[in-house]
């Protein structure tokens, strides 16, 4: 190839390269711009509706009076159950799989199963909960059912986060613990769990932030959209101070309230739907921020 054609070839390819670079920038912007637009749209519509009374009012036929009191209380209670079930189960499974499990068919089965569950559509969890928890176990349309369903939904997330966190711990630390005379569980309790706590917490919070935004499985198991009362409080002023009635109470959650309002034709309902959306986004953003902070904080504290 002579000099001129060589130069032309290189110039052509470089031009192509430059064009693609800008295509790449555009593509990256698609996601970011959409996100920004969404946030702006929500704020424009909903910001005006956010007020103290919005947080403390029940839903109503009249959009001016409607609020999210029952929804955010319901969300909090359901999340409580979700966390209390998913965290011990998930961490225990993760610890077993990383520290105890031998390479046999049982372990392989469990691992394939978890990978599979991570990909099951969330509404299928709702269907299972409907048949199993609501009807077969007679838990009914309650906070307990909702919490259990969501905990199963985020279980794979917690297990995977736990395993990843444990994997970062080097063998030399385990050997040092054993060499000092520790048993396996002592090693896990004194070393593995404390050192992986950061990663585990991060995973748990991310899982919970997903669960907060879930509505499909909860609709399936009968979360109601018009609740004008609050479930009984878990902590009371008189003996025995803690009651469990709230577990069997009907409930509503924030995303479902949003869904209900956005499905109505009246524009005023759309505005408060936007407001509810802002509150929901605020909660998930806060949780994701917390997860990032925890990850950063732990990385500085635990060094090896």
């Amino acid at each position: 190839m002579n000099d001129i054609t060589l130069k032309k070839d290189i110039a052509r390819r470089k031009r192509f390269d430059l064009i693609f670079k800008w295509v790449g920038v555009l593509a990256t912007l698609v996601g970011i711009v959409t996100l920004m637009t969404l946030l702006v749209d929500l704020s424009v519509d909903g910001m005006g509706k956010i007020s103290w009374s919005f947080f403390t009012s029940f839903p109503s036929r009249f959009p001016e009076k409607a609020g999210i009191l029952s929804s955010w209380v319901g969300t909090t209670l359901v999340m409580l159950v979700t966390a209390l079930v998913a965290v011990p189960l998930g961490v225990a499974s993760g610890v077993y799989l990383e520290e105890y499990a031998r390479k046999n068919w049982v372990t392989t089965l469990i691992e394939i199963n978890i990978a599979n569950l991570a990909g099951v559509p969330s509404i299928v969890y709702g269907l299972m909960a409907l048949g199993l928890f609501v009807y077969k176990f007679h838990f009914g349309l309650s906070v307990l059912t909702a919490g259990l369903t969501l905990s199963l939904l985020i279980l794979p997330v917690v297990i995977i986060a736990t395993r990843e966190a444990i994997r970062t711990i080097p063998m030399s630390l385990r050997e040092a613990a054993y060499a000092a005379g520790a048993t396996q569980w002592q090693m896990i309790l004194h070393h593995i769990l404390p050192y992986s706590l950061g990663g585990i917490l991060t995973g748990v919070i991310i899982g919970l932030s997903r669960a907060i935004g879930e509505s499909a499985p909860l609709i399936t198991i009968g979360a109601l959209t018009f609740i004008a009362f609050l479930p009984p409080a878990p902590v009371t002023g008189s003996f025995p101070f803690i009651n469990f009635d709230w577990l069997s109470s009907p409930y509503s959650v924030l995303p479902i309230q949003l869904f209900n309002w956005v499905s109505r034709p009246k524009k005023e309902f759309h505005l408060i739907a936007a407001a509810a959306g802002l509150v929901l986004m605020g909660m998930t953003l806060l949780m994701n921020g917390l997860a990032i902070w925890i990850r950063y904080h732990y990385r500085r504290k635990i060094k090896w």
């Binding site: 040092a176 005379g181 090896w304």
Partner: protein
């Protein structure tokens, strides 16, 4: 090639290795190794890479149990109770309570200095707080680290320098008053000043505990040990009083290694 020379000094033995074999899967790493470990003396293991000296060391505290596919043959008899610590019926936890280890790269726990040293006591349980604190101080003194850290016992061990971290690990190994301490190339990751501090420590420690040390550095073995074993591809080629090994070895292979003809 099993041409060992046995010095009959009549010294009491802490441990007696008898025909020790070791297999990684089907690959035999140690071949019928026999050697005496004299009580309250420093025994060094030297040899080129891959000779099996670290493998032999890690048999003493059953470290190989942690990984699947390993197999021991033969015996290591520990005194005074003459128990074969390689016996599957013998609990490795008990063995590790009697024999502690200092690793090649300092590996303090991501905990405070105090908790690092106290760990061996914590897993055992049954000691009062004041007793634990006292033993931690003794161990730190024994590791020549007390003066440097006594004001910051509750700061993180990871903040110490490399040499200090290794002495911290030595204190951790001493706190339980072990019968024997295994040193796996303890100074290979340290600078010369830290190295000489550790070597001085070994000299002093042997008055209380039996020491078995693996080292890549022949001069170190000559400096600190009373007895030396030279290993080559899984065999114990020669074992004798250190002076003899380094001045007048009986085996040609030993001599070649000592004089640097191969390494």
């Amino acid at each position: 090639m099993v041409n060992t020379v046995q010095p009959s000094t009549g010294l009491p033995l802490k441990a007696d290795v008898k025909d020790l074999d070791f297999f990684y899967g089907t690959h035999q790493v140690l071949k019928k190794v026999s050697l005496p470990v004299a009580d309250k003396k420093v025994t060094a293991l030297i040899g080129p890479s891959g000779c099996g000296k670290t493998t032999l060391l890690r048999c003493f505290n059953r470290m190989h149990d942690l990984y699947p596919g390993n197999r021991y043959g033969g015996e290591i008899r520990l005194q005074p109770d003459n128990v074969n610590i390689l016996d599957p019926k013998v609990d490795p936890i008990e063995v590790r309570m009697r024999i502690s280890m200092v690793f090649q790269k300092p590996n303090p726990f991501p905990k405070t200095i105090f908790e690092n040293v106290a760990y061996g006591l914590r897993v055992r349980g049954g000691l009062k707080k004041s007793v634990v604190a006292q033993k931690v101080e003794e161990a730190l003194r024994g590791a020549a680290l007390w003066d440097e850290v006594k004001d910051r016992l509750h700061s993180l061990g990871a903040n110490l320098s490399g040499g200090q971290q290794q002495r911290l690990c030595i204190a951790r190994a001493l706190v339980t008053d072990p019968e024997m301490v295994l040193f796996d190339e303890p100074t290979s990751a340290l600078d010369p000043i830290a190295t000489s501090k550790v070597e001085d420590l070994v000299e002093v420690l042997k008055e209380k505990v039996t020491i078995l040390i693996v080292t890549h550095n022949m001069q170190q073995a000559a400096r600190v040990s009373d007895f030396t074993g030279f290993m080559y591809i899984g065999d114990l080629v020669e074992f004798d009083v250190t002076d003899k090994i380094f001045t007048n070895p009986s085996n040609k292979l030993t001599e070649d290694y000592i004089t640097g003809r191969f390494g």
